[in-house]
Symmetry: C2
């Protein structure tokens, strides 16, 4: 995968999104911005409008934040404490009517949240590296609901405060698998597109 | 759930997004726009940058479109044939290193695709209602990959051409579960936010 830039055809909100490790440990996420990113998640699409997402929301310095932070893998604890907000995402299994696309729908909701975060001048870094059992215990999450990801939300900070290897990773250009290995007309056969440069 | 509008704080691309049934059966999705929405998906976030998504892409009138259309539940065949493009989304199970968040990541990629579609003046309607086994068979999708959703992409059309019940549904205001039942500080305890109106 060669480093490259997202094409100029992308909406600036999509093109500029990335997942940094460096958060401004002094800046706070205001109520208005926090409400807006949660509303963005809330208004996203879901299978049959089942809205299988729930969020536990902590702000740096409060007990909810500490509890979410405490479920993170050690590696993520080296940087995620700087975020203004930590969100634990949870999905509904649907009980007697299983929600086969619940995880997909939560992914969509968090994507909308991330894009609204960009609109607010904030950044997001999602993590799979946490202990779901510890999260269930910490928040009394009932059977039938599944802890899914932790989302760090806040203001971009100075990468100079990061562990050296993370600072190096953050400075690296982004990479993606080529479109020819992603979009097909038959399995493995690239979609043929007349693509203008840029 | 009371009908309401997304708040004015949302990015217009997020606030205006919805999942219509009526597509313009004459309009085509150009190569440039199709490349842009696929690039949006490609540049979305994923767990460890594993990019577990693949897309089978058909355009109205071609054999790929017909094959995807043929996997849809009868209900979805009443409207989805009008789309300019049908995409089948597929995720990678990860083999020996299982990708626990593959479905979540595909949801994110399709959310980015949908938002870029809005940026292009196009609309998207995602479907869980299709036959994954038939899709696997039709495209030779190998074991280890899972057909996930079908995405209709195109230009918004006149709802007058829809079956009566779908036209009525499309005219109805959107609804969502209240934020107080979605964002918590402890399970079931609403997050308290000072929210300005709008």
């Amino acid at each position: 995968m060669n480093p490259e830039q997202p094409p100029s055809s992308l909406s600036p909100l999509l093109a500029s999104r990335r997942s940094p490790w460096s958060f401004d440990t002094d800046a706070e996420v205001g109520d208005r911005a926090l409400a807006a990113v949660l509303e963005a998640a809330r208004w996203s699409a879901s299978s049959g409008n089942t809205q299988p997402w729930r969020f536990l929301v902590g702000r740096r310095g409060d007990a909810v934040f500490e509890k979410i932070y405490g479920t993170l893998r050690p590696r993520n604890r080296t940087w995620a404490g700087g975020a203004g907000v930590l969100l634990l995402t949870v999905y509904d299994l649907g009980g007697d009517r299983p929600l086969r696309h619940a995880q997909y729908d939560v992914g969509q909701a968090v994507a909308h949240l991330s894009i609204q975060a960009g609109h607010e001048g904030l950044v997001v870094h999602q993590m799979a590296g946490f202990d779901p059992d510890a999260a269930r215990e910490a928040f009394g999450i009932p059977a039938g609901f599944v802890p899914c990801t932790v989302v760090a939300l806040g203001h971009l900070g100075d990468p100079g405060s990061l562990p050296e290897d993370l600072a190096a990773r953050q400075a690296r250009p982004r990479t993606r698998r080529p479109l020819a290995e992603t979009a097909f007309t038959e399995w493995g056969v690239p979609l043929d597109l007349d693509r203008p440069p840029g």
